[in-house]
């Protein structure tokens, strides 16, 4: 009897007492001001092995621990990281009937070169029936010129068989060669020296089937990678492929730890406590709670100022906001609707920039109604994009003018977006033969101008876009039926099969100018990314020329032409580029980063750069922990 009563009243009373004690205890705890940066991430990294990861949370964490051979500067220029410098050259090979023919053509070229020194040839060599021309720069242009001269003077080179199935035989081989010189003072976090062997190992690991690296397609055109000395790497490509340079931003793995281990064992021995070369070293990982990194005092550019960085995994956007407000995390990525309330708050600093993605409506060009350019233009002019920006993303964005976003260096600002003009839209539809029918919806040859617009569930921006588009198009006599599906269903049933009328989607494509997979007419099969069935021979040519061009001004010119050509075709209704905004407590951090000259340090507040506000995060410091003086004063 007494025991029953004890349990009945005692346990709840005990629980209440513990709860109150714990609550009182919690109110007395205060965050101690450590020299530590705290970053909140919504997702937990899959792995910290930089050749196996594909999620942004993972690359954010790993980016602090690893280096690539190259990196982007604050102005998005490609600069050396583990490499001090690099050169790009090319070997072009021409094939002849026999050795004598090859020798004769070499002599001819020698005389030609003395008369036209503009050709960047650095050497000529004959091997059996082949003439190998060494060039100072990569690309097809010079080789084509040499080929043409040979042909004009009747030294007829023989074609090479196709490199891959489906390709044409090539008149000559053009093999670009990238030569990197590496830093000599770099050590892994465990003290072992970093050498070219690590680069070679990383490349071979990416190509290893057992590793299943998502980075593989970046390196598929590499024909060989050699290490002539411990601080030199030579990469040879089968054919010109200019996006390949940026692929050497790939983080390098330590060969001495992983080379002799079966990749199946990496998850246990390495992926969750990696060794890198970067400014921070791995310290601990509490699954679903936090990852902690500590400073690497031996970092090759100098020790960072912070003692440690902690990445806290907070999966819910509201709790992430709460954590920011209580200073448990130092930064917060704000939703567009919340920006206005924070903008004028003196407690915060905001960093905003156009994001690296754009929203669009893809028209399925296999459908007859969308094959008429006038109809696509009419659709674009009937949709009020500025209003969309105002109401859907609260003005935090700009109208899209094509396949590139304003942040990237090859973006062409001269491409003029179509303006909202329902009158022009109506007259275009009239011209195209779509006349208003009895119910206000336009009709042509007995068919109504009506289609289904798809969007994915769970993405409020896209759902709102579809609603506004439906309303706008009704004004010009087009009927839109909106259907919303779960993302996986949308892909499987409609996108991958190319069976839909129109679809609201977005592309976030990084800094790569090569969009072959999205626009080339060969990429229209099921599960390929040109799912709208777009085909334009001029675009096909530009796409393939662009990925073989190494000259920066030429790339900018061709990318601009590509952007304009595709925009003129209106295969998508290009909508808008939303802005991304991050908040920091005012004055929480400053930056002191190495300058261009050795020993020079530059002290600045945290500011927006082309590469974002967080590009120098390894050099952030808390003003209450000023950096121990090193080099010049601010």
């Amino acid at each position: 009897m007494r025991s029953i009563r004890f349990f009945l009243y005692g346990i709840p009373a005990l629980l209440v007492v513990i709860l109150i004690a714990a609550f009182v205890n919690a109110t007395f705890l205060s965050v101690s001001k450590k020299n530590e940066m705290s970053i909140g991430t919504l997702g937990e990294p899959s792995t910290l092995n930089p050749i196996q990861q594909a999620d942004s949370a993972a690359s954010e964490v790993a980016g602090m621990m690893f280096n690539g051979l190259l990196k982007y500067s604050r102005d998005l220029e490609i600069i050396g990281d583990l490499a001090t410098d690099w050169t790009l050259s090319q070997e072009s090979t021409f094939r002849f009937q026999n050795h004598e023919e090859a020798l004769k053509s070499r002599d001819f070229l020698n005389t030609l070169l003395s008369s036209s020194p503009a050709l960047p040839v650095t050497g000529l060599e004959v091997q059996e029936d082949r003439l190998i021309v060494q060039l100072r720069q990569a690309g097809l242009h010079d080789s084509e010129q040499i080929f043409k001269s040979l042909w004009d003077f009747n030294y007829n080179p023989l074609p090479f068989p196709a490199l891959a199935k489906g390709e044409k035989p090539s008149p000559f081989l053009a093999e670009p060669i990238l030569r990197f010189h590496l830093r000599k003072n770099v050590r892994w976090h465990d003290g072992a020296p970093f050498t070219a062997a690590d680069v070679a190992f990383t490349y071979h690991a990416i190509m290893d089937d057992r590793v299943a690296s998502p980075r593989r397609s970046d390196f598929e055109l590499v024909s060989s990678l050699t290490v002539p000395s411990p601080y030199e790497v030579v990469v040879r490509y089968r054919k010109p492929f200019s996006p390949a340079l940026a692929s050497w931003m790939q983080s390098i793995l330590p060969a001495h730890l992983l080379e002799k281990v079966d990749p199946a064992k990496w998850p246990e021995i390495y992926n969750r406590h990696p060794i890198g070369t970067g400014p921070f070293k791995f310290d601990s990982w509490k699954t679903n709670e936090r990852i902690r990194l500590v400073k690497n005092p031996d970092y090759f550019l100098g020790s960072p100022w912070l003692d440690s960085i902690v990445f806290r995994v907070l999966p819910d956007p509201l709790t992430l906001q709460l954590a920011f407000q209580t200073k448990q995390v130092d930064f917060w990525g704000v939703q567009p609707w919340a920006v206005k309330g924070l903008e004028n708050d003196p407690r915060f600093e905001l960093f905003s920039a156009p994001g690296n993605m754009y929203n669009y409506i893809g028209w399925n060009l296999r459908r007859p109604m969308f094959q008429d350019l006038r109809v696509r233009q009419a659709l674009a002019q009937a949709v009020n994009v500025p209003q969309m920006i105002k109401y859907i993303i609260y003005g935090r964005g700009v109208q899209s003018n094509g396949i590139y976003t304003p942040q990237v260096w090859f973006y062409d600002p001269k491409v003029k977006p179509l303006s909202y003009d329902p009158k022009a839209s109506k007259s275009l539809l009239d011209q195209a033969g779509w006349k208003p029918g009895p119910d206000g919806i336009r009709v042509k040859d007995g068919k109504r101008l009506s289609f289904t617009l798809l969007a994915n569930n769970g993405n409020e921006v896209r759902r709102d876009i579809s609603t506004l588009v439906q309303d706008d198009l009704k004004q010009v006599g087009i009927e839109v039926k909106v259907e919303v599906y779960e993302w996986a269903v949308l892909l499987k049933r409609f996108v991958n099969k190319g069976e839909f009328d129109a679809i609201v989607l977005g592309w976030g494509l990084g800094y790569d100018f090569d969009q072959y997979a999205i626009w080339d007419s060969s990429q229209t099969h099921p599960e390929e990314l040109n799912f709208i069935g777009y085909s334009n021979p001029k675009v096909d040519r530009l796409l393939s020329d662009l990925r073989q061009e190494y000259n920066r001004p030429e790339i900018i010119r061709m990318a601009g032409e590509l952007q304009q050509t595709i925009y003129d075709d209106q295969p998508y209704l290009f909508l808008f580029v939303p802005e991304g905004t991050s908040v920091m407590w005012k004055g929480a951090y400053r930056i002191r980063r190495p300058g261009r000259n050795p020993g020079e340090w530059i002290d600045t507040p945290v500011t927006m750069t082309k590469a974002g506000w967080s590009c120098d995060m390894e050099w952030f410091y808390r003003p209450e922990y000023p950096p121990q003086v090193k080099g010049s004063k601010p």
């Binding site: 009897m1 029953i4 009563r5 349990f7 009945l8 346990i11 709840p12 629980l15 513990i18 709860l19 714990a22 609550f23 205890n25 919690a26 109110t27 705890l29 101690s32 450590k34 997702g43 899959s46 196996q52 594909a54 999620d55 299943a212 998502p214 593989r216 397609s217 598929e220 990496w266 998850p267 992926n271 969750r272 699954t287 679903n288 709670e289 936090r290 902690v310 806290r312 907070l314 999966p315 819910d316 509201l318 709790t319 709460l322 954590a323 407000q325 209580t326 448990q328 993302w487 996986a488 269903v489 892909l491 499987k492 049933r493 989607l505 494509l509 969009q515 997979a517 999205i518 990314l529």
Partner: protein, 320 residues
């Protein structure tokens, strides 16, 4: 008693097998593909995709996939698509946190549920009891995420109290007691939110049974003997009404685990519910299948325990 336990155990194993088949097919037949890099990624070649599918047996027919998955599950070779680690170690590192949360939550539900249930039965019909019932029904009806958000916002913004994770971060604890109380605090808040529904349900069950029991002849006899009302209530009525509470534990467990998905996410609590939620979003089939299996095993175990307890307190059960 032994034969009863063995019979129940056998039945549980058969059930577990059937559950494993059903859960495997539900998981794999759901639309979507488990590409860790997202489906519309221009950087991923068809070759990489094919290689990936081969590595995780996704290119085989479904029945074969099931067999391979189960073989790998029992040999410990089943690996997560997300991070390529053995699935069981991913689950095991979250199991302690999940068990702590669920056991605490069950403890809260049972203790408060019983107390409120007894009080409700004793004062059945009075205005206090009607008000109490009304509040209980509100708690049954309120969605867990709403209470969680409300509680999290109030605690953090009004009291400045940390609630995320299993422990406050970035704090130097003055002593071990403070640290332990902090851990308890991070456990009790989500556990209480999870328990609210359980308290309400338990107290309603108990109230109904108690009211029925109170009408029995032996209660009248006990009162007629001149026993105190408390003795009648606790010794005679409660003991004979305890069975629904015990079988309720078995029913609480699945509800707790499914409710934990939301609560664990909001409070950033590193439990199995969150693991499952992330695995669903990532279409991490191996993790999902293994997790379903473990959860099913836990639920069956919970049912088994509550059955055995029922049989222990009530001999009639053993004969059923």
């Amino acid at each position: 008693m032994e034969s009863f336990i063995i019979r129940r155990l056998g039945l549980s194993l058969v059930l577990l097998f059937i559950i494993s088949i059903i859960s495997f097919f539900i998981v794999t037949l759901t639309p979507g593909s488990p590409y860790p890099w997202g489906e519309l990624n221009p950087k991923i070649s068809a070759e990489v995709k094919a290689n990936f599918r081969k590595k995780f047996h996704l290119d085989r027919p479904l029945p074969e996939q099931y067999a391979l998955t189960m073989r790998d599950l029992f040999t410990g070779n089943l690996r997560s698509i997300k991070d390529d680690r053995p699935v069981m170690s991913r689950i095991m590192e979250r199991l302690p946190a999940t068990l702590a949360l669920n056991v605490t939550s069950i403890l809260i539900s049972l203790s408060f549920g019983t107390l409120i249930g007894v009080a409700a039965a004793r004062y059945a019909g009075s205005w206090q009891e009607v008000t109490g019932s009304f509040i209980t029904f509100i708690f049954i009806a309120l969605p867990g995420f709403w209470i969680s958000y409300l509680l999290a916002t109030v605690l953090v913004t009004n009291f400045g109290v940390p609630i995320l994770g299993t422990q406050s971060y970035g704090i130097d604890f003055p002593n071990a007691t403070a640290e332990w109380l902090d851990r308890l605090w991070h456990l009790l808040v989500p556990a209480t939110v999870l328990a609210l529904g359980g308290i309400a349900a338990q107290s309603r069950y108990l109230r109904a049974t108690m009211i029925g029991t109170m009408k029995e002849d032996y209660i009248r006899t006990a009162r007629a003997k001149g026993l105190q009302e408390d003795v009648v209530l606790f010794k005679h009525a409660l003991r004979n009404s305890i069975r629904p509470i015990i079988s309720g534990i078995g029913m609480l467990l699945p509800a707790l685990i499914s409710g934990a998905v939301i609560v664990e996410n909001i409070f950033a609590y590193p439990g199995m519910g969150r693991l499952g939620y992330e695995a669903v979003l990532e279409r991490d089939y191996p993790t999902l299948v293994a997790l379903n299996f473990v959860v099913a095993a836990l639920v069956l175990l919970g049912n088994l325990i509550s059955d055995i307890l029922s049989a222990a307190v009530d001999p009639r059960v053993r004969l059923e």
